[in-house]
Amino acid sequence: MRQDRPYSNIPGTYVLDPQHSMQGYELNMFCMSLNKPENRDKFRLDEEAYLDDFPLTKEQRKAVLSRDWLGLLQLGGNIYYTFKLAIFDRRNMQYVGGAMSGVSEQEFTDMMIAGGRPVEGNLYTSEEK
């Protein structure tokens, strides 16, 4: 069970706190490995085999292979790390933002151009629609 924290009632937010960091260390370090071009080549060649070198949980492994962008965060990932996988896929932040919040890349981009996700209704979980 996650400890309750003062920020636990911020909706749709996965804070890289000590617990999250412990849970996601190996997953995030897999993502980190994609900074190196030779690793990107290996991962491109055979994703499953490449992942064998990282002690991920079954769920984490599945989330990587299926590009479950929200699931990756729920399993300990941090966006700066998981985004390296998106870079590998040549995806941009609007695509990933949309995938995590359940809309298309275009819809997400349009929301940003219109001023971003509004403050109202998004500060406390208690006010979520």
């Binding site: 260390y25 980190m32 919040s101 929301m111 940003m112 998004n122």
Partner: protein, 279 residues
């Protein structure tokens, strides 16, 4: 003696760097943002700082969860642009100022700020995008740079009050450096944005406007903003704004705002820029 004359606060969104690198700054999406950068570039050309201390955060490039320094200062003669997964940005190598950087580190540690000292530290968009914003695309960057990397990714990040105090200590260090140098401090990151989760895309313009105002009007309020307030009000990645408080701490109490620019969106972020000068 070295003279710390000004501070700049600016976002460091990677998309801004990509727009510069791929010649997109005049597209309708980017033009309003870059139009607002014009006066800041003119200021930079006019003022010609010898050295800029750039306070930024590393985004899993030089550091990772393997090693998480809260404050790391680069003392090397040069810093290479990092490969963040696309190959390194094709921008000039960043030249350091080892003598001043070591002097600052020594002074800070004697002042009880236990710095991490980095002799090798590739620099990512957190540092190179502010250079592109302020300088455009020169053959070589027009100033020496002392990188100061702050952990703002792994909670808990340093508190705003600590960042402000560090800024003050940096000022004391620069003031005691025995060479005529014109020095600026840039605090980077922010403004409100959230990259992750179902709340991705969160932007809070009233928060950002109040933050820009209070850099001159109410520093006490800014210094006392806590972690949860940043995450809730400025988005989970908006906590980067503590880095602006290091810049603020290094300035005179009555530093004046000489320019500001604010635009939404730059990628998934509210982009802000402010220039503050000592009188």
């Amino acid at each position: 003696m070295a003279n710390l004359f000004a501070g700049v606060g600016t976002s460091h969104v990677p998309g801004i760097g990509a727009a510069v690198d791929h010649d997109k700054t005049q597209l309708p999406y980017w033009k309003p943002l870059f139009d607002g950068y014009g006066p800041a570039r003119e200021w930079m050309e006019r003022e010609k700082p010898d050295v800029v201390i750039i306070v930024y955060n590393d985004h899993a490039s030089a550091f990772s969860l393997e090693l998480i320094p809260t404050f790391a200062m680069g003392v090397a003669a040069e810093f290479q642009p990092a490969d963040e997964g696309y190959g390194p940005r094709q921008v000039p190598v960043v030249e350091g100022h080892p003598e001043l950087a070591w002097h600052i580190c020594e002074s800070l540690i004697m002042d009880e700020f236990d710095m991490t000292i980095a002799n090798k530290m590739p620099v990512d968009h957190g540092l190179t995008v502010p250079l592109s914003i302020m300088c455009g695309q020169p053959e070589a960057w027009p100033c020496k740079v002392i990188p100061l990397a702050v952990n703002v990714i792994q909670y808990p990040q340093p508190r705003g009050s600590r960042c402000f105090a560090l800024g003050k200590a940096i000022r004391a260090a620069v003031d005691s450096f025995d060479e005529d140098l014109k020095v600026a401090v840039w605090g980077t990151g922010g403004m409100s944005h959230q990259l992750q989760g179902e709340r991705a895309g969160f932007v809070n313009e009233p928060f950002d406007t109040a933050f820009l105002n209070d850099l001159t009007a109410d520093k006490e309020r800014l210094i006392n903003i806590g972690h949860t307030e940043y995450m809730r009000e400025a988005g989970s990645e908006g906590a980067e704004l503590v880095m602006w408080l290091i810049m603020l701490g290094a300035l005179d109490k009555d530093a004046k705002e000489v320019y500001r620019h604010y635009h939404v969106p730059a990628s998934n972020t509210a982009a802000g820029l402010i220039i503050l000068e000592n009188s």
